[in-house]
Symmetry: C2
Subunit: 330 residues, 2 copies
DNA sequence: GTGAAAGCGCTAACAC
DNA sequence: GTGTTAGCGCTTTCAC
């Protein structure tokens, strides 16, 4: 049978209030009493029931994180970083995966806001702020991560998208490239929009023709880069900007399979999700945009706990900057 | 203010029992009443409180998954697969990360078994079954994943480790290799032990000297492979078996940086965590052992739900087999 | 076909 | 310095 706080109280010869206060250190308890209580706890093997507790207090000490793709190392690393911070503060992390599917996101938003978690971190795949907002109970602690909405109705933590892409295009131009193609992520996402916008601005500012054909979109998941690459090569690009890490990795692989060599045959600038693995092999032959994934996760964790503690806190928008690592000079 | 079941009952002019039975479809309710109830629910925007529910019923519809390294794509993909299955069954997934640290695992086991989840999936980093067992309340639904303990006191889902490694060594021997080194994961893990054991058996069966120097261990995390590789190269290996995906990726990178070419300078057989990304670039020049990560996750999900439904179910040990993909013949 | 009410295990206001 | 007790929101037994 389950051991409850009353069993402990009875055995220790004190009231349940005292037991509760003892384990929670929430009011003064004499040394003698404390010892009796702990002895009883030990003897009975008592563990306070977490769901009774959270039912009573209304606090679950749990936050939810809705991500578009867990198997993507960008989010995997972010999850790790969030979990790392939260566990430090005694919080747990519930993960939900949407695979970039808006309906799955909607379902998860409904489920998680119904008393399961104290707050929510969302890397949303939605494009409609109205729809999104309608799913969130007013005052529910929520922080958008990596992807934001135009109307600033939620706090957010994201990375700057404009500057690195703008810079990338300018650098390519200066190295003599005139057919610069770009592979974006899902067109509906704020991150994609900002990156494509930066690209367009840079193209215009460099005095290059604004050629819609040079802009293609993938879905940032496995095996979506190939079609994009084929399209751009068919349009005789001499340089490529790839807006997402997994697609960048795959682009490298496909270029290699096609017998194309970086720098010699084509120039590349790419977002890399994490500064390791495949990239060192090529990083001296391409410009890399390195996102601060760990910081993103850490900030997201900090922000959501802040909002949980004070749901009335003002909307907070945090934008981290990516590192730009130019290719090694020839 | 929070809308409760009593508010709904009052507005609908029925009892809370009826409201409860209506939304849970747990006893007959007349059409008329049902409509009144749903009208009231809608009007008030009522959502049943999940923690009150789980407190009352004792079911959380949540399972925990303790993993050694979330940022590792092997586990990332497994998490995705588990979450995918569980969400199908109306369950949530809580993630905890140990970074291969036994104390963190202990903490997480304590926290998660204390009424937070209905059951637990664990890829344990512990080596002491006693210690592990002492942390699990008797009868608590738990399934070991990827790593098991000698004493079969828990159900488990894992991959066969012996066969692919044995085969790898034999193939290398047949290709004329005589100094075959191996890079293992953490020595305390069952997976590592089985793999190293397979290696030893194969070495002996091939009639090669049993040279302890050719066995080195990494920790299966970022940047641990380099030291292993250096050691093995210093011992003039002509072939390498790498027992884990991340270390295999890094081995490829380091070999490349050292100017060593696969097949020509050194032969390689490696576990690859997922059949994508870096590997296609090299897969024709090395034997790959491909673990069925998705199936692992799916089976883990199935098994834990089965145990949650019937905690008395007999211990179940499921062993999946990895695919062996030989290098393309020259 | 529906209602009344007990009570899950805990916390915290109030009392002494 | 400690005890008594109400009650969190829900499910479910028992009764009619």
């Amino acid at each position: 049978m389950k051991v409850t706080i009353s069993d402990v109280a009875r055995l220790a010869g004190v009231s349940t209030a005292t037991v509760s206060h003892t384990i929670n250190e929430t009011r003064y308890v004499s040394d003698e009493t404390r010892e009796k209580v702990y002895a009883a706890i030990k003897q009975l093997g008592y563990t306070p029931d977490a769901s009774a507790r959270s039912f009573r207090t209304g606090k679950k000490r749990t936050v939810g994180f809705i991500v578009p793709d867990i198997s993507n190392r960008f989010f995997g690393t972010m999850i790790e970083s969030v979990e790392n911070y939260l566990s430090t503060k005694g919080y747990h992390l519930i993960i939900a995966n949407t695979k970039e599917n808006m309906d799955r996101e909607e379902t998860n938003l409904r489920l998680l806001t119904a008393g399961l978690v104290d707050g929510l971190l969302v890397a949303s795949t939605m494009d409609d702020p109205e729809r999104f907002r309608s799913l969130i109970p007013t005052g529910f602690p929520l922080v958008l991560v990596d992807r934001t909405f135009d109307d600033n109705s939620f706090s957010s933590v994201s990375v700057s998208n404009f500057q690195p892409i703008y810079r990338a295009v300018c650098r390519l131009y200066q190295r003599g490239k005139r057919r610069i193609g770009i592979i974006g992520g899902l067109p509906r996402l704020s991150s994609t929009k900002e990156r494509i916008s930066a690209y367009r601005h840079a193209i215009v500012d460099c005095g290059l023709p604004d050629d819609e054909e040079l802009i293609v979109y993938g879905d940032s998941m496995e095996r979506s880069a190939r079609a994009c690459l084929d399209a751009l090569l068919a349009r005789s690009c001499d340089a490529l900007v790839v807006c997402q890490g997994l697609m960048a990795s795959e682009t490298l692989i496909y270029l290699n399979q096609k017998g194309l060599t970086l720098k010699r045959d084509i120039e590349l600038v790419a977002f890399v999700d994490f500064d390791s693995n495949i990239n060192p092999l090529f990083s001296d032959k391409m410009d890399c945009i390195i996102q601060p994934v760990e910081d993103l996760g850490l900030s997201a964790g900090e922000q959501i706990l802040r909002r949980i503690e004070d749901p009335e806190a003002p909307i907070f928008e945090k934008i981290l900057t990516s590192a730009y690592r130019p290719a090694a000079e020839a």
